[in-house]
Symmetry: C2
Subunit: 143 residues, 2 copies
């Protein structure tokens, strides 16, 4: 079992990318998100609720309720979603699983792997959702 991000985080990113690709202010129900992205409805609803707590999206209750992007997509980075759902420990922990791995007490691959981790973090920090709209919609069409 190897995974980069949790299922929760993957679904969360997919859903937020989808919301960000909608017109500003659009409200989308968890049922639609579930259907469009082919992911579990109740689970994504729960995930989106926690993302609402993080301020990345908003929600409205009631008959015409749903979720929507709370900020301009140019202000939301992929790393924000990762941080809200999974946290950032992955970018600080030892790939070999050694505890307390640091420049002072490095594991055998500390430098090489550390560089990759930094690159990954930077990639996720540079990708804002406005830049991914079209690609997102293109991908969703293939599901």
């Amino acid at each position: 079992m190897t995974v980069i991000f949790s299922k929760k985080c993957e679904y969360g990113m997919q859903a937020v990318l989808y919301l960000a690709a909608q017109d500003k202010g659009t409200v989308v129900s968890s049922e639609e998100i579930s259907r469009v992205l082919k992911i579990p409805k109740e689970f994504i609803s729960k995930i989106l609720q926690s993302l609402r707590d993080s301020g990345i999206i908003f929600s409205t209750k009631g008959k015409s309720g749903g979720f929507g992007i709370a900020k301009d997509p140019s202000e939301i980075k992929l790393i924000d979603i990762v941080e809200a759902i999974d946290g950032l420990e992955m970018f600080n922990s030892c790939v070999l699983g050694f505890p307390e791995c640091s420049p002072e007490t490095p594991c055998p691959v500390h430098d090489s792997w550390g560089a990759l981790r930094t690159q990954a973090y930077e990639m996720l920090s540079v990708e804002t959702l406005d830049k991914l709209k079209e690609k997102t919609l293109n991908k969703i069409r293939t599901l």
Copy 2:
């Protein structure tokens, strides 16, 4: 929850690195590995048994039993251990969790993330255990 490799894989890599740092042909019990690396004894024993099936290490039963490196450390790469324990799906699957992500039907970050994945795979493929002996022993001293 984010993780690069499973706990199983992490422990497996730690243990094989430790074995590779011993003199050629040395047999080490799972009890010693557990004690030195501060990891669960029965679990690492099980993991090492599966690595024995992969040909990376050997085992001897009986009173003076234990595990040892089956090949020259210069012939074992970190990716071999990863492949034996976790498999290589991580290097082929979509970071956003989209199914069937490919160059033909790419997810929004397919190119950038794909490059990072390739780098990670290459890093693990280049690191042979002979090169990591000293650093491994240095790290273990800090546990």
